[in-house]
């Protein structure tokens, strides 16, 4: 049975495919703002900081969305507090807070004596997506995309020139934490697909690939979510065919697309730069 037939035939594959595509799109969109604000490390931190929230939600028997968003945002606030109120620099305070949250998460989960759950949360298991997970991803997707659409102007100006944004009265801190909340939600949505450890790749790699291809933010958002979902579909296909870990395969496909773009991008590619500098040298000789 080929992949297409299998998708038609098996519901679990359909769900996996749909969820992965949605994750590719929303990670691609939020990822653009993350890399333009120079917050790649923050993306990594928040995605890890979701773990204790997931564990707590299991304890309390509530949907893990709430716990995850709670600890994710709490960590973002903690990082902000330490770097603004002490001499500790931002990257160090990120390092302290997210490892602490992650460690707490691991301790909580081992208390529950369920190592399979831990493995799935850390590395994803897209083929085991339940209908409820799929719906949650869809709802998160709608919230994230609507927010970006509605606040596009504010997100653009705070990412590009925060001082001007502040000067004309935008609540830049609030917008920062709002973006962190969206980031946490995206992480939660990606738990099943690529897992906590690799979410950051889905945030940064497709966005960075798009960044090499365009000089306009609006195009970048579309290209980035395009690369995100192509990576998701292709990765899922390869992992199904070759029986590989799906999350990791998706990430490797995204990385492959990035490397190809890095070399061949017509505007910012390595090859282009090489040709340009050679042309200069020839014209001078």
């Amino acid at each position: 049975m080929n992949f297409l037939e299998a998708v038609m035939h098996y519901e679990f594959l359909q769900k996996a495919l749909l969820t992965s595509i949605m994750v590719g799109i929303i990670c691609g969109v939020i990822g653009c703002f993350i890399i333009l604000r120079g917050m790649a490390l923050m993306g990594d931190a928040i995605s890890h900081a979701v773990l204790p929230g997931v564990a707590l939600s299991y304890f309390l028997g509530i949907n893990f969305f709430f716990g995850a968003v709670f600890t994710g945002v709490l960590t973002a606030i903690g990082i902000g507090y330490i770097s603004q109120n002490s001499r500790i620099k931002n990257d160090s305070s990120i390092g302290i807070m997210f490892t602490a949250a992650f460690a707490l998460g691991i301790v909580l989960i081992t208390l529950m004596k369920s190592s399979t759950d831990l493995y799935h949360i850390l590395f994803g298991n897209v083929l085991a997506v339940r209908p409820s997970d799929m719906w949650m991803t869809l709802i998160i997707g709608v919230i994230v995309l609507t927010s970006v659409y509605l606040f596009y102007k504010e997100l653009l100006v705070t990412s590009f020139d925060e001082t001007m944004a502040q000067a004309y009265g935008l609540p830049t801190k609030l917008i920062h934490y709002f973006l962190m909340t969206l980031l946490t939600m995206v992480t939660v949505a990606s738990l099943q697909t690529v897992g906590i450890v690799l979410v950051v790749a889905m945030l940064i790699t497709p966005a960075a690939t798009a960044y090499l291809l365009t000089n306009r933010l609006s195009f970048m958002l579309f290209i980035s979510s395009g690369f995100g979902s192509i990576s998701a579909v292709l990765g899922l296909y390869i992992s199904y065919k070759a029986n590989l870990a799906s999350g990791a395969t998706i990430v490797l496909v995204a990385t492959g697309l990035f490397i190809i773009t890095l070399i061949f991008s017509p505007k910012h590619g390595v090859l282009r730069k090489l040709i340009n500098s050679r042309k200069k040298r020839v014209s001078y000789s």
Partner: protein, 247 residues
């Protein structure tokens, strides 16, 4: 007519260090004022404090007779060129268009008339033919002109420029100063952080000479005397004396 900006006994500290100490002055509408002083004199800090970006320890700042908060939409700020990410994926026209954002309501996109305004402002600074370029592809002077266009699109009453003439070509500098003088003649207030003393005479009517404390505020000819300048620079630049004397 009331004052445009009045600063009274302002103290500001930056990362726990006192950067601006007991500064008072007031500026009328229709003035083009230079803020000069040696490195670390607190020029940018003063500017940011007037804009309400850095809280003050003591003293008051009034813009058009009221709190800065109430006048935010009437202020335009042109940042130092080094504070901008020139690789940001944005075109020249979209950069100018940001100038229309402060007047747009939440959830609203720029309309056709806003785009027209942005385009007119680009024409004013002579950058309309570059409208689709990415901002990093421009020269320093062109970049500065685009940011001036953005400030013009804000249709503000008070303009703040932080070191606009650093590292730019002479024709851009002339274009910018010409536009600033036009704004002054229209009754706007313009504050420019500037560190090239040699041109302060030609560019500004009034100067704020700063070295943490206010050394002198007044008309250019009152401020640009060898004694006051050397008091501000405290012998940091001995050739300045000769420069000022000869000019």
């Amino acid at each position: 007519m009331g004052t445009s900006i009045s600063v009274d006994q302002l103290h500001v500290s930056y990362y726990g260090k006192e950067a601006v100490r007991d500064v008072s002055f007031s500026i009328m509408p229709g003035s083009l004022v230079g803020i000069i002083g040696p490195n670390g004199a607190g020029k940018s800090t003063l500017l940011k404090s007037i804009l309400g970006l850095i809280p003050s320890d003591k003293g008051t700042v009034k813009v058009q007779g009221g709190e800065v908060k109430l006048a935010r939409k009437k202020l335009a700020y042109v940042p130092q060129r080094s504070n901008i990410d020139w690789d940001f994926p944005i075109s020249v026209i979209d950069t100018a268009l940001i100038g229309t954002y402060p007047k747009l309501r939440m959830f609203r996109r720029p309309k056709k008339s806003d785009k027209q305004l942005a385009m007119e402002c680009l024409e004013k600074v002579g950058m309309s033919e570059f409208k689709n370029r990415q901002i990093g592809e421009l020269s320093g002077g062109q970049q500065q002109r685009v940011f001036l266009a953005r400030a013009l699109a804000q249709q503000a009453e008070i303009f703040f420029l932080d070191e606009p003439f650093v590292g730019i070509d002479i024709s851009s500098e002339e274009t910018i100063i010409k536009i600033l003088k036009e704004l002054r003649d229209q009754g706007k207030t313009i504050l420019v952080v500037h560190h090239d003393l040699s041109k302060a005479n030609d560019y500004f009517q009034q100067l704020i000479l700063l070295n943490q404390e206010l050394v002198k505020f007044g008309n250019v000819d009152e401020v640009m005397t060898p004694e006051t300048i050397s008091r501000a620079y405290q012998g940091q630049l001995s050739f300045l004396k000769e420069l000022v004397v000869s000019s």
